[in-house]
Each structure stands twice: as C-alpha cells, then as structure tokens.
Symmetry: C2
Subunit: 288 residues, 2 copies
Amino acid sequence: MENVSGGLRGKPAADALDLETKETVRALRERGVIPTLAILRVGAKSEDLSYERGAMKRCAADGIEVRQVLLPENVSQAELLGRIQALNEDSTVHGILMFRPLPKTLDEQAACAAILPEKDVDGVTAGSMAAVYAGKGAGFAPCTAEAVIAMLRYYQVPLRGSRAVVVGRSLVIGKPVAMLLLAEHATVTICHSRTADLPAVTREADLVVAALGKAEFLGAAYFRAGQTVIDVGINWSETKQKLVGDVDTEAAAQTGAAVSPVPGGVGSVTTAVLASHVARAAQRRAGE
Amino acid sequence: MENVSGGLRGKPAADALDLETKETVRALRERGVIPTLAILRVGAKSEDLSYERGAMKRCAADGIEVRQVLLPENVSQAELLGRIQALNEDSTVHGILMFRPLPKTLDEQAACAAILPEKDVDGVTAGSMAAVYAGKGAGFAPCTAEAVIAMLRYYQVPLRGSRAVVVGRSLVIGKPVAMLLLAEHATVTICHSRTADLPAVTREADLVVAALGKAEFLGAAYFRAGQTVIDVGINWSETKQKLVGDVDTEAAAQTGAAVSPVPGGVGSVTTAVLASHVARAAQRRAGE
C-alpha cells in the first residue's frame, strides 16, 4: 500500500496482482502447463484493439500465452459458434475473452452461452453470473468489476460493515461489483438513473463506485471528506478532447474524498485481473 | 386494492394472483394441457408437510394437478437424482418443487442443479439465479421472493425511484428480492448482520423488506411513519408460543408504518406464486 494523497492509482494495485499471477504461472510452467488465453475479436474497433494491446502486453509480462482469433465483421453466427466450440475443445486453451458488443448481425447472448463455463474468464456465462450472485461456486466475475475489489484490497479500504454505494446497475460492472462488495460484508446500495436525490445517497457512503457511463457527471455535491471513490467510467470528452471518468475528479478531490483517476485508475487493473483469471483457470484444470 | 389500515394482509393479493392463474389454467385445459406440479419431498418435516398441504390446496383450487414423490430420509443420492431425472423427462410434468434443506447425507447443490431449468418453478438452478440477477432470460425467482413483489404490486406501493432496504442476503429471499426491486427501478440497499447502525439505515427507506430470520428483532427504532414494511420472517416464539415475524409488529405499527402481519402476510402469497409459476411453465411449453 502506498500514500493515497495523489489519488488511488491503479498501477501499484495491478503490479501487486501481477506478482501473484507470475508466481502461479511459474509453478504451472514447471509442471509443463503453459497458461493460455484465447482472444476472440470480431471486426477491429479501436477500443477493442486498445484493450487487446494492453491485455497481450500484460499476458506476455506474466508468462501467459495469447492466441488471437480474428474474425471479419460479417462473420456468420455459425462460423463464430464453430470457433468458440473449437476453443472449448482445445485443451491447451485455458481462458476465452470475446470482445463485446458483437456486431448487431450476431446473437451475442448465444455466443456468450456457448463459451465453456470453466474457460469464461470474463464472467459472461450464466454459470459465472450465478456464481457471482450466489457468492459461491466456480466462475469468474467480469474483470472490471473484480478490478474494483483489487483496488480496494490493495489500498486496504475497510469494507466489512462499511456503507458502499454503487452508481450503475449494468451486468458488466454495477451488479457484479455490488455482489462482490456484499461478499466482503459491506452494506451495499445500488443506484441508477431512476434514483431520487442521488447526491444525498452518495454522500452517505463510505465508498462510492461510479459506473454510470456519463462524462464527469458526479461533481462536488456528490461527495464528502473521508470517502473513497472508485471511478469506473471511461468517456471521451469532446470539450476536453481527452478521456475522462464519470467523476469530476478535481471537484471531488476538493471535497476531501480520495478518488481514483481516469485514466490511470481502475482501468489499469483490469488486464491484471484478466491475467490472474487465466492463471487460475489453468491452475484449476491442472489440479484436476 | 383494499384499505391497508389493518396491515398488509396477504390473502387479497393471493386471491388476485389466483384469478390470473385460473384463467391461464382454463385456457391450457381447453387445449388439452393439464398444468402439473411435482412435489419432491425427502422425509417428513413438519414445515414441509405444512407448506405441502397449502400448496396442494392452492393448486387444486387453481386447477393444477399435483404429483407427490415421497422419499425416505435415508434415500441415496443416486435414487434422488434418478427421481429428478424421471420428472425432467416426463412431459406431463411442468414444474418441480423440491423441499429444502435436504437431509445432510445428500448433496443438495447437485440435486438442485439436476432439475431441468424450465421446470425449476422455485428458482433453485443456476439458470434461474442468473435470470433473476440479470433481470432477463427464462427462469423463475424463488416463490417467497416473488411473493413480496406480488404484495407490493397488489397494494400499489410505488417502487420506481423509491428507497428500498432489504434486511437479509440469503439466496432464497434477500438477494432475489433485491434484484426484483431493482428491476422495478427502486434504489436498493442490502443489509445484513454486519451492517452498522441498522436502525438508521432502515429508517431512511420508503420500503423495508425484513428477511433476517430473527424473531421480532426489528422494533420501533427501525421504522417511521409512512413506510411500508414487508415481514418475510417466520419464527417460532418460545415466549409467545406462536409464530412471529422478524418485525415486532405492534411496535412497528405504532410508528405509523404499514406492516404485513405474520402469519397472514407474505406467507399467504407464496403458494399462489408457486401455482402461477407452474401455470406459466405449462404455458411456455405449450407455446413452443
């Protein structure tokens, strides 16, 4: 843990997680297992390419092999499902990351359901969702949701008995973060676009997780001194011509809250979580 | 909707739900489909017997056939799974209700997982859990959790934008109720044994759902005028020698909150929800 006066940066939390992953990978490689992630990308959206680069760099650093399966944007559903099936059956592949959203011509739900649950390192199958919801069973949470918890753990933010407010209820972040915080024994409130007097609700919290997807939406009125704020938003600001979070970071910091920056916050931890999931998936299989 | 000054009784809500179920059953029977529930009971615990009697009476009134599968307490896991398999394969059975907890000698999780998701009318499979969590997809919520929503709907309690506090985080009630309330656009807080200053949290709410399983634990300090309180607890009070809820009903009512009684509250709605699930499961199959 480091001094948080400069905001809650993601890199040290990612580095700490990487240390564990490297150790797991080392032990697996000694037994002849090469942890391998398959990245399945349809088309070539710039966000996907950017995340892919980060994931490949992280995996390389951690000793995890990456296999890219690149499909054209006009790929058929049958071809996509065939590729997923092949990755499911390939015993040298331990994790599958499929970029979403898929092009509208494809049935994304069916594609997610086709992924073998034990290779579902980004928590998109019903089995993973049920495990996150139930707080037990094999399955992985979506990487970004778990990256929030990794940040809080690294910065030793007390969660048991604390009041956590999650703003956003998506299946990728809001809901899984809420469930993971509940498993850590926080008292969890889930807010969304229909929440009345949102600033009053967020000010009550010890911890605020912002995942609503609106550029710098949460200003000074939403925060108070002593709070921890994890900003999961990644939005392009036309006015500032740069990436910004869901929190107006400067305004929030002036209230005395400790805020994670964007970029450089939780986003930096996501690929470290992905790598750790691949290592754990390989470990589980090797343990059989 | 009726006057709520006498507390939020379950019977009228159950009766309203029954009207819909009867209509669905009538239409199915006209097409030659007889909606059928299989009740799978291991042993003969008094709570199971009592619920079973209620369920059978309700189903009979609604035109739903019930088939009982009664197994001795020392039944083997293989025999139990074989019976579940047979019910899965029997096309005349639309819903399966298995009493839990099972005796400790049995693997309850494996038994739940063996139930065919489309016949899982009490929401015990991973598929149902994922559907409740995701707020979409085929699957049923646990009957008691949905009975809470049926009560709120019947009494026209406004949920959108309201603040709901759920006390308890079990998979049978707390978590699914929280997810169902979220789908109704309430701002939802989930509390539990580790929550700090619980009375302060519940007093903030417009709606409190009590599902902690402690006899008359929530007294006057937890409530305020204008609140709706749904008491899901069913506990045997040694002092009073009768069934009581998680709420001290008299004390709560004196604060001006509208409280559902125990017995006669949400418990009266559960079997109506069960019957409605069986009718809907039969309808879905017939619609294929």
